[in-house]
Amino acid sequence: MIIKATRLTVAAALLGASTFGAFAEGFTPENPECIAPANPGGGWDFTCRQVGKALQDLGLIEKTMQVVNLAGGGGGVAYAEVVNKRADDNDLIVAASSATATRLAQGAFPGNTMDQVRWLASIGADYGVIAVAKDSDIADLPALLEMIKTDPRSVSVAGGSAVGGWDHLKVLIAANAYGIDDVRTVKYIAFDGGGEAVTQLLAGSVQAFTGDISEAKGFVDSGDIRVLAVLSPERLGGEFAEFPTAKEQGVDAIGANWRGFYAPGDMSDEAYDAWVSKIADLYATPEWKEIMANNGMAPLDLQGAAFETFVSESVAQIQAISKDIGIIK
């Protein structure tokens, strides 16, 4: 109850703050454009389209947000394009997530670093889950991690990202927190997207699944898979409240796949502030809260400088784990 109450207060405070923000606007984007650095259908595409639609529905932008899919290099093509060619575009925002931070941390965008763009704001987070099939013998997270600790070859963990990607790192964070020193022994199998990974969990090819809560939701509702732990600091709200956190099981691991936006590096301060306040306004509306609830997104409301700090901290954290597992030197 206490937790709920505080969250309400925070939300109310934010609502107040963002209403003030709305008055400070001087800039309106003429041709608002959102680059989704992936093919249609993925999370970034969803971020752009959903936010674009909501911004227009709520009257925060006048014209329809144009969504451009600029796929390639796990977001690297779009990043390079924004840095090199569109650095002073005031009408442009680009969808980003933990995956962007991961690749920046691992130097997977050749020649690019996180300070070449301006980080705008987050629109929520998708907390990581570790799940097993409904008929699995594994009772809870410590049991799974103990199995990995004693015989790493006995457990295959499936996830939707490539090796070194965010789904992989989440399970390593948990393993590390449990006291598995050489996290490289954890057997991770990369699939093409969370859906395929869950299917293989149901098929019995693998023993555990690491992914985002939104990927797992449909299967949890139908009772096909069982969530061992959600990697959030405290239990989530609403229908997700039944899932135990890793922390309450004694494994101090948090893995949030945040979603948000960055803007070109030379965007004017006026435009930057306007975009920050627009997204803040959007975040504060009940309509957005509903979209978040429907998609299993948890609150993560960081704007402007606070968001910039958050991204740089998570880049540093990922760099540290990646060094541990030998992906970067």
Partner: protein, 513 residues
């Protein structure tokens, strides 16, 4: 009975003027997008998402519009395959093999009508399969672990010998080239970039569409440029259009083909991670094995070679909706886009979609039937119009093809790097055509290579390096047996039988002397 009641409700939802108009619009746009080289079903659907949003459509009407585009593009892909030997999208590639020779024989109209009918048969029965079998079929999808997927892709690879007609060594070379292209990009099992030379555009690997448009469309333009002083103008315009509808005998001949191919295509569609290209490919090569054992007619304009891949790929399109609706897992690129649309309309796909959003599911299924009949009605009369393309002299047609290729590819990716890659593939295609190397195995190698490699490595990793895991389940053993008995043995035995027959003929010959 419940099913029929639900379906009737579905029709009640789908049959409003607005929805029918949307379906009509979707079918029309989809056919055009499918026919244009470069634009395929997944891009077609993606392009129209903003339209669905700006029109403020609800969940069901949006899905009706977008699935009509999806089915329409699957129909449309064949048009340019048959008329120009340029596949409109990946699954339509196999239709080139017999469709274009038919057109050259003056049977373009018949090939187009027949493929339209085959598409209809495939899609129609696949939709019924979707209605009745979705819950059971999901179980089939769950039988496929990485080892089984590897066996399936290996099976597909072994049928390659059946695809190219003439020189096996050349088609093996082409397939190996394709496999090589598939290796480009970040390796998902280790996170290490391969053959990317630090070029970020190559990290996600090569785009199949870029390769197809380059290899098929641009190389055609280059060949034309090379011959432009010759009589290229004369030869092409001499192609006769012929009659527009296939004779009854041809329909009779192709009916069993369509039924078999529908079944195979549908199954390939149901497996997430296989998809429509594999459906049309397997349908074609099985059919060739079955009805054309000596390799006499397939590849030279056999109507069955047109009916098989078209029934196969349209059935796969329907099959791909099974895992999407019943599991929330996309079975193809296009269903991945449709899933994203569902998500942004606040519908959670997953095992409970049928019970939680029955109106959406059944409305969608009813819309599929409507789109199907609409496409048949739209496509058969339009055959006459399509075949006019053949009357266009190459000096006008070829620049248009080049233009559409460039605009199409740039429109999808917005990257000039892809245009360079496409030109590179165009040159490669031009050179390979000079050496009579078939182009289809290159694309198949690229298309299947990644999936095959990843599944092999997943299977081996899961079983801690034990290679026997590949033949550890009844299903994978079955797939291997089919592959070996169906495709490897005939190569060996066939050679022996042929040499025996030669020997006998020699004896007979000596007797006659």
């Amino acid at each position: 009975m419940d099913t029929f009641m639900s379906l009737a409700d579905g029709f009640a939802i789908a049959l409003t003027w607005q929805n029918i108009l949307l379906a009509l619009l979707g079918c029309f746009l989809g056919t055009i997008m499918g026919a244009l080289p470069g634009l395929g079903p997944s891009n077609g659907v993606a392009i129209l998402i903003p339209l669905a949003f700006t029109l403020g459509l609800g969940a069901t009407p949006s899905l009706i519009l977008l699935t009509s585009v999806y089915y329409g593009a699957m129909y449309g892909g064949r048009i340019s395959s048959i008329l120009l030997n340029i596949p409109g999208d990946e699954p339509a590639m196999m239709t080139c093999l017999d469709g274009y020779p038919m057109a050259q024989k003056g049977m373009a109209g018949q090939a187009l009508s027949l493929s339209g009918i085959a598409s209809f048969v495939g899609a129609f029965f696949a939709t019924w399969g979707l209605i009745f079998l979705a819950p059971q079929l999901v179980k089939i999808a769950l039988l496929f672990g990485p080892a089984e997927y590897f066996a399936l892709f290996a099976l597909a690879f072994m049928t390659l010998g059946g695809v190219s007609s003439t020189n096996q060594a050349k088609s093996a070379f082409a397939a190996a080239l394709g496999l090589g292209f598939a290796m480009i990009g970040v390796d998902t099992q280790t996170g290490v970039p391969r053959f990317t030379f630090g070029e970020v555009h190559l990290y996600d690997g090569l785009d199949f569409l870029v390769a197809i448009v380059g290899l098929f469309a641009l190389s055609e333009v280059f060949i034309f440029l090379e011959h432009r002083h010759g009589d290229a103008d004369g030869t092409a315009s001499k192609i006769k259009v012929g009659r527009l509808t296939p004779p009854l005998s041809m329909l009779k001949q192709t009916t069993p083909t369509m039924i078999r191919s529908t079944l195979l295509g549908f199954l390939a569609g149901v497996l997430p991670g296989a998809g429509a290209s594999l459906g049309s490919f397997i349908a074609y090569s099985f059919e060739k094995r079955l009805v054309d054992k000596d390799g006499k007619t397939f590849g030279k304009g056999d109507p069955r070679g047109v009916a098989a891949p078209e029934a196969g790929n349209n059935a796969a399109a329907g099959g791909a909706l099974v895992p999407m609706l019943a599991l929330g897992v996309p079975g193809s690129g296009t269903t991945a886009v449709l899933l994203a649309v569902l998500l942004s309309l606040n519908i959670t796909p997953g095992p409970l979609l049928f019970s939680q959003n029955p109106d959406v599911v059944w409305g969608l299924i009813a819309a599929l039937f409507i789109a199907n009949f609409m496409l048949l009605a739209m496509n058969i009369p339009m055959v006459g119009l399509f075949t006019r393309v053949l009357m266009v002299p190459p000096r006008i047609l070829m620049p248009v093809v080049a233009m559409v290729s460039f605009v199409g590819i740039y429109g999808i990716s917005g990257s000039s790097f892809d245009l360079l890659v496409m030109v590179g593939f165009g040159m490669l295609g031009w050179i390979l055509r000079k050496f009579d190397v078939p182009l289809v195995p290159i694309i198949l190698g690229t298309l299947l290579g990644n999936a095959m490699e990843n599944n092999l490595r997943r299977a081996i990793t899961i079983d801690n390096g034990n290679w026997l895991t590949l033949v550890d389940s009844p299903l994978s053993i079955t797939l291997w047996v089919i592959a070996i008995v169906g495709f490897i043995l005939p190569l060996i035995i066939g050679r022996k039988v042929k040499s025996k027959m030669h020997a006998r003929r020699d004896e007979e010959g000596s007797l006659a002397d």
